[in-house]
């Protein structure tokens, strides 16, 4: 049960202003998260990963470590120097018995695409072989680790045409591939009986995020029509910046244009009006021009009357 954060803006931000300095930064979330659903692992200490892009249309860079994020000096150093306008960050708490290894740290990349996941695929072992056999050779061979998350990424890639050789994808294409990935997982889970009402029902929490370096598509999803999915918040405005030196950050809204969008498992600050929950089973798109779109995922788990909560 992990925490993730993604950030996209018109102009680069210093990673420290996202990762280390804000009051409830992802580093804080790694040992003091507040909105955890799954209490098997109280801290997110099984490694972390940072992915960022230099410029649109080029491959991003990933830095992962199996050390807990709060104790990694290199992360502190890098965060004070690296600037980027598109950042993925992830702190990990392993579930499903996968190893604490760098290959199992989010995010992963393939061509220009970068992927991370917060949650787990319930009963993944029961569909893993099915999933792997559906992959083409190249994507199958690209899998390095053992996590359900990376396998979900492989499935996502198989929904795209020529995922390796292309510099960019339209946000609509990524959107559709994401929907198909979730639909495919659901289909297999159904077939494997994982989601049987009377059986050994294991829930899947599918907070996925993917980017090609220009668009971002992410989901807040659960295989249930009643329960809330793992938390996911977003915030947008003209600038994410410190108010004081003490880690008090705010999303400035100096105009009616979104120049910055942050999506995070937990709000990075305690400014209530800066953060908005992505409703459960909704897909969020950040377009290359920083327009935010929200689409309900209208499958069998869609329930417009699901109990809404601000958290």
């Amino acid at each position: 049960m992990c925490r993730f954060l993604l950030y996209k803006s018109n102009s680069p931000i210093l990673l420290a202003d996202l990762l280390t300095r804000p009051a409830h930064s992802i580093i804080m979330q790694s040992f003091n998260d507040k909105l955890r659903l799954d209490n098997r692992q109280p801290v997110n200490g099984d490694g972390f990963g940072i992915g960022w892009f230099d410029e649109p249309g080029t491959q991003g860079c990933i830095f992962t470590s199996t050390l807990p994020a709060w104790s990694n000096l290199n992360l502190q150093r890098l965060a004070e120097k690296v600037k980027s306008a598109l950042v993925f960050a992830h702190v990990r708490a392993t579930t499903g018995g996968t190893a604490t290894a760098e290959s199992n740290c989010h995010p992963w990349q393939y061509g220009n695409l970068m992927w991370m996941h917060n949650g787990n695929i319930g009963g993944f072992r029961r569909i893993k072989r099915r999933l792997l056999s559906a992959l083409n050779e190249e994507i199958f061979l690209s899998i390095q680790g053992t996590t359900d998350s990376e396998h979900a990424f492989a499935l996502f890639l198989s929904m795209l045409e020529n995922p390796k050789g292309r510099a960019d994808f339209s946000y609509q294409e990524l959107h559709q591939a994401m929907l198909r990935t979730i639909a495919q997982l659901n289909e297999w889970l159904d077939e494997a009986g994982v989601t049987d009402e009377d059986g050994d029902h294991e829930l899947s929490l599918l907070n996925f995020a993917v980017t090609d370096g220009q668009s971002v598509v992410c989901t807040r999803y659960i295989t249930s029509s009643e329960l809330p999915a793992a938390s996911l918040f977003y915030s947008s405005g003209s600038e994410f910046r410190p108010e004081t030196d003490s880690g008090s950050y705010r999303m400035a809204k100096a105009n009616k244009r979104e120049d910055v969008v942050v999506v995070a498992s937990e709000p990075l600050t305690y400014e209530k009006s800066d953060w908005l929950a992505i409703p459960t089973n909704v897909l969020l798109v950040i377009t290359p021009k920083l327009n935010v779109h929200l689409y309900p995922i209208r499958d069998k788990y869609w329930n417009p009357h699901r109990f809404h909560t601000t958290s």
Binding site: K256, E258, S273, T287, K289, N291
Partner: protein
């Protein structure tokens, strides 16, 4: 002659505001600027800093302009005064949307905090708070439907929500509060340190966020409402709902009879949708198909956000992220045009006004499009995004808010006029009643009708006409006493003369003064009743209005924030050289009188005497007036506005000024040349030492003037006077905490030292210290004012030696030394007597030197040279003291009080009656005033009505005048003149002389 080479590329046209097509009347700032003066700081706590001060939304009603700031505060500005009247606190995040229910007088504001606040526009109190649906995010747009009496909210979470205003109380209060309580957020509300959550609604609102308790709060809202789920259309769009607009399909936003009202919504998903309001439910009735035509005008991709919508005459306009504006025909639902500005900056705001489309964009421009969608040009707002535009229905005015926190008021009448809309142009010209309409009755009737029909509108147009004239007049650099600017002075004089003619003066002319000095501008408005004009002018009682059109040089232009000779309106003030001294007050008087004449309400003949040498010792004024005495009739009242309020907020009436005597003295040696001190020193006279000797005997080290008999005639301070002065000091320290007068007194180094000393000796008795400070400050202020107004003073301005060499070479004995000094005299000192005493005393001191020198010569010290004294003493100005008890003064005080009563009423109630206006004196001198009074004696009495405030900075950099003061100054003159014949009647009837002195 060679033809000019043709330009190869067409330069972009200059902005309309640069070529004078559009004038900026005023710029207000939500952001408190550190360079503002103390007086401005007192207007309200503008705590938004520049980074957080964006104007995100605007609305207006008849009296106010409302601007919503990034911090969530709503600033309420007087539409006519441009004054900040109030800051409405409540929203804890940016106020992104506002709309007005005009019939109810309710302003709705939508915040980034997910709440709508309803404000009473009369009391400016919050009526109630509406919580938008759960997890709505920011409220980005608001529209109020009169037809359905509902409020429509466009939200960040892509929903459109309807709040049923009419039936808002149908859900019980308990249920509403229960709903609000159920929304408590686990994350934020447990994190917030003070989670004093209780079910009581009012404390709930405060506990929600620490920001709630920060800053002053208005009256706590009594009622809380909630937008419940059944009136929310979730996922109405797939993006942020940036714009909602109610209109009929024919495009009449007011909603013609029988036409259905349609809701248009636009969002960051690039969709424009149409909705029908079925009670409180929304029914989607279609959308404008933007996607299919993406290539027809240059490949606009689908990733484009729509920020703004506007409707006019069957057309819908959509402002895009890409800088383009789409034009849709609502009849056919077809896109008929795409307007492209030069830039690719977000079109944040659209406004249709007088059939022109205005678009405000992120590149700091407002582009203007005519009725046939041709571009009419653009207005430049610097580099700041134009986020909000509003325009009053009844005025050619466009108000734009930008992300640097400023609000600019643009006069668009020239654009409207250029489109040939004759009706509107004539509405602007109403101040100008045709001259040939000389039938008094007719004029009165016409006026009554105009007043009825156009009331406020007319007043605004007249005010604007006056400001336009003042702006043009300020541009003329009429600095007197500078030969190269003499032609500019003459142009300023001609400008005024022409303006007087335009405004209906029966006579307006330039009267040439002494050679090489600037002409005097003369204008006359005859009394409205023919009977009052029966006497020939030379014998007719008149009101004589004195002023001047010359100005001081700009001084150090680097100190000015804007061009001194370009009038700029900023935060309720007009800035520019001469706005306060004295062009502004002169025009206020001229427009006051011309309006009265035009409406047949002028009881007496009024003559204007506006000179051009006031700042240059009024050279030639006496001679010119003497020569043309017959033009001025028999002045009964001499009216001028050439002084300032004592502070910033209390109107004043000036009744006394000191007189002045200037003197130059020069002590010369007969040797004519500087000599070497080492070679000749001891054997020659020392002019500078002699000069210093004389100067050092003019006053003693305590500052008391030593001229024999100098103090003999200073009128003793009566008990009444002292009491009145103490009362004045009390008022000014109580009410004018921000006035420079008070702050400087309290903070002046001398005073501060004394206070510190006292505190030091009193040790820890802290409870006494504020009293001590207070008492000390008042005593200081009392003494200061007495010294400035009531007692004479002597100043040495300057000392110098004969040659440049002697000034810098420290081994020379100068051949001559000179000094200039002045004396300010007070009642009952005689100007001539004091001048004579000064002369005699200096000569005596000089004789003394000579005698002692002779004595030393007799004792064997031979001197090679002798000393000579040249002494010029100019009695410049008599002191002037009016009697505030006379009917004219009482009438003037009443006029001031009545005019300002409404503004002061809520502050000080009854107290203001006895204190407004404050009766004040000035330490300075205006030679013309006592001279005119005595020249036109025995009938004339002078009244000096100050318009400006103490912070006006006359003669200094950034000279300014409060626009409200100027407008009210004009009204005060009208109030005073209206019945002036009655006021002056008694003395006139008796024919006796006294004007009270």
């Amino acid at each position: 002659m060679q033809a000019a080479p043709q330009s190869r590329h067409i330069a972009p046209p200059p902005p309309l505001n640069q070529i004078g097509q559009v004038r900026c009347l005023q710029t207000l700032s939500q952001v408190l600027d550190s360079t503002h003066y103390t007086g401005e700081a007192g207007e309200g706590e503008r705590d938004d800093d520049k980074r957080n001060g964006s104007v995100l939304s605007m609305a207006l009603d008849d009296e106010h302009v409302f601007s919503g700031s990034q911090r969530g505060h709503i600033y309420v500005w007087g539409r006519d005064t441009f004054r900040l009247e109030r800051i409405l606190y409540g929203h804890t995040a940016g106020c992104l949307a506002m709309t007005l229910d005009e019939a109810r007088g309710v302003l709705y504001s939508g915040g980034g905090d997910g709440k709508v606040r309803a404000w009473d526009v009369r009391t400016l109190q919050c009526l109630y708070v509406i919580y938008a649906g759960v997890n709505s995010g920011a409220i980005l747009s608001l529209a109020y439907s009169r037809a359905h009496d509902v409020l429509v909210l466009g939200c960040q979470n892509t929903s459109i929500q309807v709040f049923d205003v009419a039936n808002k109380d149908s859900v019980s209060r308990e249920e509403r509060l229960k709903e609000i309580a159920a929304r408590r957020s686990g994350f934020f509300d447990s994190a917030a340190s003070a989670s004093k959550f209780v079910s009581c609604a009012s404390s709930h609102a405060r506990a929600l966020s620490p920001a709630d308790s920060a800053g002053p709060t208005n009256e706590p809202a009594e009622e809380y409402y909630v937008v419940f789920g059944h009136t929310i259309t979730l996922y109405a769009h797939s993006g942020y709902v940036y714009s909602t607009l109610l209109s009929s399909l024919s495009g009449n936003s007011t909603g013609a009879i029988g036409e259905e009202e349609i809701l248009f919504s636009a969002a960051s998903d690039g969709d424009i949708k149409l909705w029908r309001l079925n009670g409180v439910a929304l029914e989607n009735i279609g959308s404008l198909d933007r996607s299919g035509m993406s290539d027809s005008y240059g490949g606009e991709d689908e990733d484009v956000c729509i920020h703004s919508l506007a409707v006019d005459d069957g057309l819908l306009f959509a402002g895009l992220q890409s800088g383009k504006i789409e034009v849709w025909d609502l009849e056919t639902m077809q896109r008929i045009r795409v307007l492209a500005g030069n830039s690719s900056a977000n079109v944040f705001s659209l406004m249709v006004h007088s059939h022109c489309l205005y678009s405000g964009a992120a590149d700091g421009t407002v582009r203007v499009w005519g009725a046939d969608l041709q571009s009419l040009g653009w207005i430049s707002c610097g580099s700041d995004s134009v986020l909000a535009l509003v325009a009053p229905k009844d005025d050619d005015l466009l108000i734009g808010g930008t992300d640097d926190g400023s609000i600019s008021f643009w006069d668009t009448s020239a654009i409207v006029a250029s489109l040939g809309d004759a009706a509107r142009v004539s509405a602007l010209g109403v101040y100008n009643v045709p001259k040939d309409n000389n039938s008094h009755q007719q004029a009165q009737q016409a006026q009554a009708q105009l007043v009825q029909e156009q009331g406020i509108q007319r007043r605004r147009h007249r005010g604007r006409r006056m400001l336009q004239a003042l702006g043009q007049w300020i541009q003329l650099k009429s600095v007197s006493g500078v030969p190269e600017l003499q032609s500019e002075c003459r142009r300023a004089a001609r400008f005024l003369k022409d303006l007087m003619r335009q405004l209906g003066a029966v006579d307006a002319r330039l009267i040439s003064s002494t050679p090489s000095s600037n002409p005097l501008v003369y204008g006359r408005f005859d009394a409205s009743l023919p009977a009052a004009n029966a006497l020939p002018l030379a014998q007719r009682p008149t009101v004589f209005i004195y002023g001047h059109y010359d100005v001081m040089p700009a001084g150090d232009e680097a100190l000015w924030r804007t061009d001194p000779f370009e009038m700029v309106g900023r935060n309720g003030y007009l800035y520019g050289r001469g706005v306060s001294d004295d062009k502004g007050p002169v025009l206020a008087a001229l427009f006051a009188i011309s309006e009265m004449a035009a409406s047949g309400q002028l009881p007496m003949t009024v003559v204007f005497c506006i000179e051009g040498e006031e700042e240059n010792r009024s050279v030639g004024l006496h001679e010119t007036i003497e020569e043309h005495r017959e033009l001025f009739g028999v002045p009964r009242l001499i009216l001028l506005s050439l002084s300032y309020w004592l502070g910033e907020s209390t109107p004043c009436l000036t009744y006394g000024m000191r007189g002045s005597i200037a003197a130059n003295m020069r002590i010369e040696s007969t040797r004519k040349a500087d000599v070497h001190a080492g070679v000749w020193g001891g054997a020659v006279n020392e002019p500078l030492i002699s000069l210093s000797y004389i100067l050092s005997h003019l006053s003693d080290p305590s500052g008391r003037i030593q001229i024999p008999g100098f103090h003999d005639d200073v009128r003793p301070v009566s008990e009444k006077e002292e009491a009145a002065m103490r009362d004045l000091v009390q008022w000014i320290t109580d009410k004018e905490a921000h006035a420079p007068l008070v702050t400087r007194t309290v903070l002046s180094p001398i005073s501060a030292d004394s206070v510190d000393l006292e505190l030091g000796t009193e040790g820890l008795e802290r409870s006494q210290s504020p009293l001590v400070v207070d008492h000390r400050a008042k005593t200081d202020l009392y003494n200061q004012l007495m010294q400035r107004w009531r007692f004479p003073t002597l100043t040495v301005h300057h000392m110098d030696v004969s040659t440049v060499a002697a000034r810098s070479n420290t081994t020379l004995v100068p051949a001559a030394a000179q000094a200039s000094l002045s004396v300010r005299v007070v009642p009952d000192q005689s100007l001539e007597d004091i001048a004579e005493k000064l002369r005699t005393y200096i000569e005596q001191l000089f004789d003394n030197i000579k005698a002692q020198r002779r004595q030393s010569g007799a004792d064997g010290q031979a001197l090679l040279d002798d000393l000579k004294l040249h002494l010029d003493v100019h009695p410049n100005a008599q002191w002037w003291l009016a009697d505030p008890e006379t009917p004219v003064y009482k009438a003037a005080a009443k006029a001031i009080h009545d005019e300002w009563r409404d503004a002061l009423a809520d502050v000080d109630g009854n107290d203001s009656k006895t204190h407004v206006p404050l009766l004040i004196r000035e330490g300075g001198s205006i030679p013309a005033v006592p001279w005119l009074e005595s020249f036109f004696a025995p009938h004339a009495v002078a009244v000096n009505l100050p318009m400006g405030q103490s912070s006006d900075n006359a003669h200094l950099d950034n000279e300014r005048i409060s626009l409200e003061n100027l407008m009210r100054g004009r009204q005060i003159i009208q109030r005073l003149i209206k019945d002036i014949d009655q006021v002056l009647q008694p003395t006139h009837g008796l024919g006796d002389a006294s004007s009270g002195s």
